[in-house]
């Protein structure tokens, strides 16, 4: 039976990298959005520019399930190289759309799917003589065909094309022509619509469609970052590039045309973080964006920033490790690397945004935290959030908000005779005062070093002052618990014995899995962790349950390790739920893993008790 579904299916486009398909596929996704139906698209791309396979997956989801679902209902198979795998991945009853210009033997198809052939190449060759045009318009032609097959509102697509080429008006008419070429062919020659349909709804609201990296970069602009130093690495490069674009738009002095920012493409990540530390030491808000291999290189400097107490922001857009690992796939596998970065006893603050809106909020916040706590702050993004467009609540900024520049002693305070000890814990929160270089002619200067020193920043190798300082750093970390974003808790209707802890990009899949579990009669309490060190609420949550599942996207259960280690929890009660194959975690996986586990514990679901 062919799948019948309105506003709830997955379309996957299989393309060749560099064939210009990306913008056509995005046009398709946006058109669904314009019909008021939420979508969640994902790029699956190789670490290569041209010639290798790429996939673009669009989950059409009126129910607002923005996590990856798994499985494909409609495959748009445009890459002969991956044909067999693509055909095999279609759900039973699903649909295959392909270019039928060259005949294919029946053995290459499946009997349990609906096959829709359209001679795309032939149509293009007939219509266009320029090979580049043939390639580019082929993509728009299949979007036109899909609009007919899925019963979409073609006006919305036309409007989007108009907006896209607002500044290159000459391109509008040919694109619309190609769109209709495909649509008309489909309407005349194919059975339209198929069982999958997009029907106008009202479920998008005022949400925006944005990549996490762009949102995070804008958060850095709003958060007052003036220095950005970076070294290109997937999936973080587009963050620094977005910062450049946002700054060019928002940070150029209107009169002098001079820049209120400095962006340096460093020679490597060691230099990038060194520049951030130099700028932070000198009172500017500075950040770097990188991924796991970059953090590995930064280790020595991160220890310096921790020990010498220099505000710095490191945005880690995580990818599959270890080593070069899976450079274009997503993971949450840098938690331990960042939490305890560098040699000696260190602990670092981390923030875990769940989507672009939080990527914006937390990045802006990270600069306040870095200066308040005078330490590195890690913003833990990942490829899934960073490099995919995600439907997200609009970005918001309170104009009354002021930057928290932390404890900085001014020239006036020094002049008035206020005691300045760079590492003196004056407020019993572990946070000392600092001064910017050049503040006062005779007071407040000090020597910054990674070597041990006393409370007045004087070099010492004595054990006492060293221990005193290390203990103060712990106290400061304690203070951080109250400053990082609090966890978000959602309780089941009735108090239960089990809870789930999750974080970051797992959010949408977790939400959906939660619904699936409830439908099975399993109701669990949820806690989304948003910061490290863990807020007191986290320990409280763990203590209130017999067992807690920790859902994450790495092999070694890294957040679980931190929970057990930092909160002294009984490991037997903290149960890992792990997906780490590089694809974004799915609700199906989470629900099955937790369901199976509860079965094995012979937990009788609620509905079974009732019936």
């Amino acid at each position: 039976m062919p799948i019948e579904s309105v506003n709830d299916f997955v379309v996957r486009f299989a393309n060749v990298n560099g064939s210009g398909s990306a913008s056509a596929n995005e046009l398709f996704a946006r058109s669904v959005l314009r019909m008021g139906v939420p979508v969640s698209p994902r790029n699956i791309f190789p670490s290569n520019i041209q010639g290798l396979p790429t996939w673009y997956e669009v989950r059409v989801t009126e129910a607002d399930h923005l996590g990856a679902r798994g499985g494909v209902d409609l495959m748009v198979a445009m890459n002969p190289q991956t044909w067999d795998k693509d055909v095999a991945s279609i759900e039973p009853g699903g649909y295959l759309f392909y270019d039928s210009t060259k005949p294919m033997p029946p053995s290459r198809f499946r009997a349990d799917i609906t096959v829709i052939g359209m001679p795309l190449t032939e149509i293009c060759n007939r219509e266009y003589s320029d090979p580049r045009q043939r390639q580019l318009f082929k993509n728009i032609i299949y979007v036109g065909a899909l609009s007919a097959l899925l019963n979409m509102d073609v006006n919305e697509i036309e409007k989007l094309i108009g907006e896209q080429f607002k500044s290159k008006e000459k391109l509008i008419a040919p694109n619309i022509h190609a769109l209709h070429l495909g649509r008309d062919f489909a309407l005349q020659n194919l059975k339209c619509p198929i069982g999958l349909q997009v029907r106008r709804a009202d479920k998008v609201g005022d949400r925006i469609f944005i990549e996490g990296n762009s949102a995070s970069a804008l958060g850095a602009v709003y958060g007052g970052a003036t220095v950005c130093a970076w070294y290109p690495i997937t999936p973080s490069s587009s963050l620094a590039e977005a910062f450049s674009r946002h700054c060019a738009r928002l940070r150029v002095d209107p009169e002098t045309k001079e820049n209120r920012f400095a962006i340096v493409q460093a020679e490597d990540e060691i230099a990038a973080v060194g520049m951030v530390i130099g700028a932070g030491w000198n009172g500017a808000r500075a950040f770097t964006a990188t991924s796991g291999p970059g953090i590995s290189l930064m280790q020595e400097f991160l220890g310096l920033a921790y020990f010498a107490e220099i505000p710095s922001v490191i945005i880690d857009v995580q990818r599959g490790g270890p080593s070069t690992g899976m450079p274009t796939r997503t993971q949450q596998s840098d938690l331990l690397l960042c939490a305890y970065a560098s040699h000696g006893d260190t602990k670092h603050v981390m923030l875990f945004p769940e989507d672009p809106a939080e990527a914006f909020d937390f990045t802006a916040l990270s600069f306040d935290l870095a200066e308040r706590l005078q330490t590195p702050i890690f913003v833990m993004l990942d490829l899934d959030i960073g490099m995919n467009h995600r439907l997200s609540r609009p970005l918001a900024w309170d104009d009354a908000r002021r930057y928290d520049r932390g404890k900085v002693m001014t020239a006036a305070e020094l002049e008035a005779g206020k005691d300045f000890g760079r590492y003196l814990d004056v407020d019993n929160d572990g946070i000392p005062f600092r001064t910017y270089p050049g503040t006062h002619p005779t007071r407040g200067s000090f020597f910054t070093r990674g070597t041990s020193r006393d409370r007045y920043a004087r070099y010492t190798e004595e054990g006492g002052p060293y221990v005193d300082n290390m203990q103060r750093l712990l106290k400061k970390f304690e203070t951080a618990k109250g400053l990082v974003p609090r966890p978000v808790r959602r309780n089941a209707d009735k108090p239960g014995r089990f809870g789930i802890i999750y974080y970051g990009s797992t959010s949408p899949a977790m939400d959906e899995a939660h619904d699936m579990l409830i439908a099975q009669g399993i109701a669990l309490d949820l806690l989304r962790v948003r910061g490290f060190p863990f807020h007191h609420d986290v320990a409280e949550f763990a203590g209130a349950h017999d067992a807690v599942f920790v859902v994450e996207q790495n092999r070694d259960a890294q957040l679980r390790t931190l929970l057990v280690n930092e909160l002294n929890l009984d490991p037997a009660k903290i149960l890992p739920v792990l997906q780490f194959d590089g694809t974004p975690i799915t609700a199906r996986f989470i629900a099955r893993a937790i369901g199976d586990h509860l079965d094995s514990r012979k937990v009788v679901p609620l509905h079974k008790v009732v019936s």
């Binding site: 925006i208 220095v227 962006i263 130099g278």
Partner: protein
């Protein structure tokens, strides 16, 4: 060993500079280096240069890496902020600091290990970016702090204190700085205060990346026969291309060298360097010529010292980045935060 504060005793008769500061005001805490270490002489020259330039000490930011040489910023300019960063990576910290506040005077002090071995990459990029600062390498050809291993500037064939012969080619940081586009390049010797002080003064006043390689014998590990960085060796093989005098833009010019042998180089801020040429053919504005000359003299076993190259109106990193004149670290919400209106517009463009 911990920290020794110098007694703050001001003799009323101590000479004062135009700002009313005495020499003492430019000193730091007492050096803990070996007695006779060349690095201490360089610290003294830095103190002298800053005193004579009438620099307000707190307007200097002094940065270093790790090594005996990198410890020296503690021993001069006690009223300046200092930053002893990590081994070989001071250049990046320097770059970031400079980006944050373009108004301070930046002074980087490093060793030959710190710069030519572990830090060669960062050094190269610092210079090629044209960061406005003075970078001094206190070059002893060894790792002093880790007890005498060869560094990358040790000459091929030179002998370590333990008798080992260095078989590797040496890196000439002056040649590198020239090739990488430094706009001020000089070399001197820690034992030659007369040459060194004006060179440091001119380097500090120079706008752009100023590099000084200062040969600085390590009395503990590199001052024996067979070492090419020993006091004796350097004295015997020193080939100075010029003697210079430095005249700050702020002080009246009084040069009394014989005309013909003297060239006045005016820097961007009006300060002037008076060069008394020892070799009539040497042209301080010829980057290629300087490189050739260095190679030629090195082949003859000579160490060329003096001001080797200067481009008085060089560009620096802030020019290239077109940053605002106001230091970035003084900008606040008003200048940095575009506000909710701009954000609403941005949101609207994403629907």
């Amino acid at each position: 060993m911990t920290y020794i504060v110098k007694p703050r005793f001001h003799h009323p008769a101590l000479p004062k500079n135009a700002l009313g500061y005495t020499h003492r005001d430019y000193e730091g805490s007492v050096s803990t280096l070996c007695a006779g270490c060349g690095h201490d002489s360089i610290s003294a020259a830095i103190i002298q240069a800053c005193f004579e330039l009438n620099i307000e000490p707190h307007r200097v930011a002094k940065l270093s890496g790790i090594g005996c040489s990198s410890k020296t910023p503690t021993y001069f300019l006690g009223q300046s902020h200092g930053f002893n960063s990590v081994h070989g990576r001071m250049p990046s910290v320097m770059t970031g600091a400079n980006l944050a506040n373009r108004e301070l005077i930046y002074l980087g002090v490093s060793g030959d290990g710190d710069t030519a071995s572990i830090g060669l990459g960062q050094f190269a990029h610092l210079i090629r970016r044209g960061v406005n600062m003075t970078y001094i390498v206190e070059n002893n050809g060894v790792y002093g702090l880790t007890k005498g291993q060869f560094s990358a500037t040790a000459d091929r064939g030179s002998k370590s204190k333990r008798g080992a012969i260095n078989a590797d080619s040496s890196i000439d940081l002056v040649a590198m700085a020239l090739q990488l586009g430094a706009t001020f390049v000089g070399r001197s010797f820690s034992g030659d205060k007369k040459q060194l002080v004006p060179l440091i003064m001119a380097a500090i006043e120079h706008k752009g990346a100023a590099f000084l390689d200062v040969i600085s014998p390590c009395v503990a590990f590199n001052n024996h026969p067979g070492s090419t960085k020993s006091f004796d060796h350097v004295r015997e093989h020193n080939e100075a291309v010029n003697r210079l005098d430095f005249i700050s833009g702020r002080s009246p010019i009084a040069v009394d060298y014989e005309p013909g042998a003297v060239e006045i180089v005016e820097q961007h801020d009006g300060s002037k360097i008076a060069l008394r040429k020892l070799d009539g053919d040497y042209d301080v504005h010829d980057r290629r010529g300087a490189t050739n000359f260095l190679l030629e003299r090195a082949a003859a076993g000579e160490i060329v010292t003096g001001l080797l190259y200067v481009e008085p109106d060089g560009e620096e990193l802030h020019d290239n980045l077109k940053t605002v004149k106001k230091p970035l670290n003084t900008l606040g919400e008003r200048e940095l935060c575009p506000g909710s209106g701009a954000l609403d517009k941005f949101n609207a463009s994403l629907r």
